[in-house]
Symmetry: C2
Subunit: 252 residues, 2 copies
């Protein structure tokens, strides 16, 4: 199972969700996290230093080195293909490369037997890096911040998902929309939630991730929220989310 976490709106909780899901799945499955963002937040989130990386996502995409040479172990059952600033150039470099949209898909093909779950963190854009992630994936999980601007870009993301499904990856489907940074005390969160559920109906996860400072603090210790504070409301919400995801995947 390969899941991309994507939304071109910035700061909606893509990396946090990718880190948390990978760490949770690693409790009983073998997991690979692929960092497709040049900012490398997923790489840092598990405490990996970006300065002494030998191979990164850049080398896999542009120089065609096998992903098995690039991934590093960060926890039991949890590996990451790290990224660093080299990846910033890849968007433009990929433009004239043969089958530019499918580079990641071919790179992950040989790893499908080694890993039960592959999760891909994407940058805040719908460029070739995110398209590579979608082409390589079975599912896309869309975090949506409970704020006004958050709903604006979802239509464009869906257009891109539909284009990918039509031309490059018939398997791709939306796993669901995840409400993040939900603040129970504000009217805005409730409004965004009711608008989203009215529009996308059962595709919206029942589980909502609450805004919680503990989540924002965890990466500064190189830990996921489970490791940092497993009893926090946000950690418990992500536990419920895993169950919902497994139900949706099994139904298909």
């Amino acid at each position: 199972m390969i899941i991309s976490v994507a939304n071109q709106k910035g700061g909606v909780g893509k990396t946090t969700t990718a880190l948390t899901l990978s760490s949770l799945y690693a409790q009983n499955r073998k997991v690979l996290l692929v960092d497709m963002d040049a900012q490398g937040n997923a790489t840092t989130g598990f405490g990996v230093s970006k300065n002494d990386l030998k191979k990164t996502t850049y080398n896999v995409l542009i120089e065609d080195i096998p992903a098995s040479e690039a991934f590093i172990k960060v926890r039991d059952n949890l590996y990451i293909v790290p990224s660093n600033l080299d990846l910033a150039g890849a968007e433009v470099e990929l433009v004239n490369v043969m089958s530019r949209e499918s580079r990641l898909k071919y790179a992950l093909e040989p790893l499908k037997d080694q890993f039960d779950v592959i999760i891909i963190d994407t940058p805040p854009s719908l460029g070739l890096l995110t398209i590579n992630a979608l082409v390589a994936s079975d599912w896309v999980l869309v975090p949506i911040q409970c704020e006004f601007f958050a709903l604006e870009g979802v239509g464009q993301l869906l257009k891109t998902v539909n284009l990918v499904r039509r031309y490059l990856n018939t398997e791709l489907d939306v796993l669901g929309y995840l409400l993040t940074m939900y603040d129970r005390r504000t009217r805005l969160s409730q409004e965004v939630e009711s608008e989203l559920r009215a529009y996308f109906k059962e595709k919206v996860f029942d589980t909502v991730i609450p805004r919680s400072t503990r989540v924002a603090e965890a990466p500064s210790y190189g830990q996921s929220i489970q490791e940092y504070d497993s009893h926090s409301p946000a950690a418990r919400a992500y536990n419920r989310l895993i169950k919902e995801i497994d139900e949706r995947v099994q139904e298909q």
Copy 2:
């Protein structure tokens, strides 16, 4: 005076800052806001509908139409060059265009006499759209969210600013670093602030923008925070910021 608001990290308050500064400056100067983000959040933030736009930033950059044909009036003394999803294709289309980094600069040249202040909102990336904004600007204002991941990308942004200054725009300088979404109750905000002030010293604005739901609510009414709730702590902080900016600009 032309100011770009830039930081490739997503969701740090670029659009909110661009909207708020434009609306404040428009109280006593003639202001143009340029939306260089395909998401078009700055366009929507002033209540402009993206569906019936005749000309956008895309037409100005790629089809070379004069910016004076694209801007629309949104308030007294406040105009905007709007954007919509057409702009999403511009990053790739610009790659092979003559003097691709300077398209915006040439487009804004004839408007310098008409407007006292031009503010440019940029997308969460360091691609050609943000580079166009930096090449066209005198200053770049960098919003930084008081969270762990927020400090990671600043080095890369500065590298890009220095490259632009060296090859394409010797005038460009960092106006300052603005701490946004500051939550006084959390240790994380204080840690990020002290790290940032230790590193960038007086380049960090004294003014800090507090996290406030009122700010997140304002754009859903098509209003800036001044219009929506001028007595809120965030609105007052942005008022102080304007004074600090004016001092810095006059010193130079």
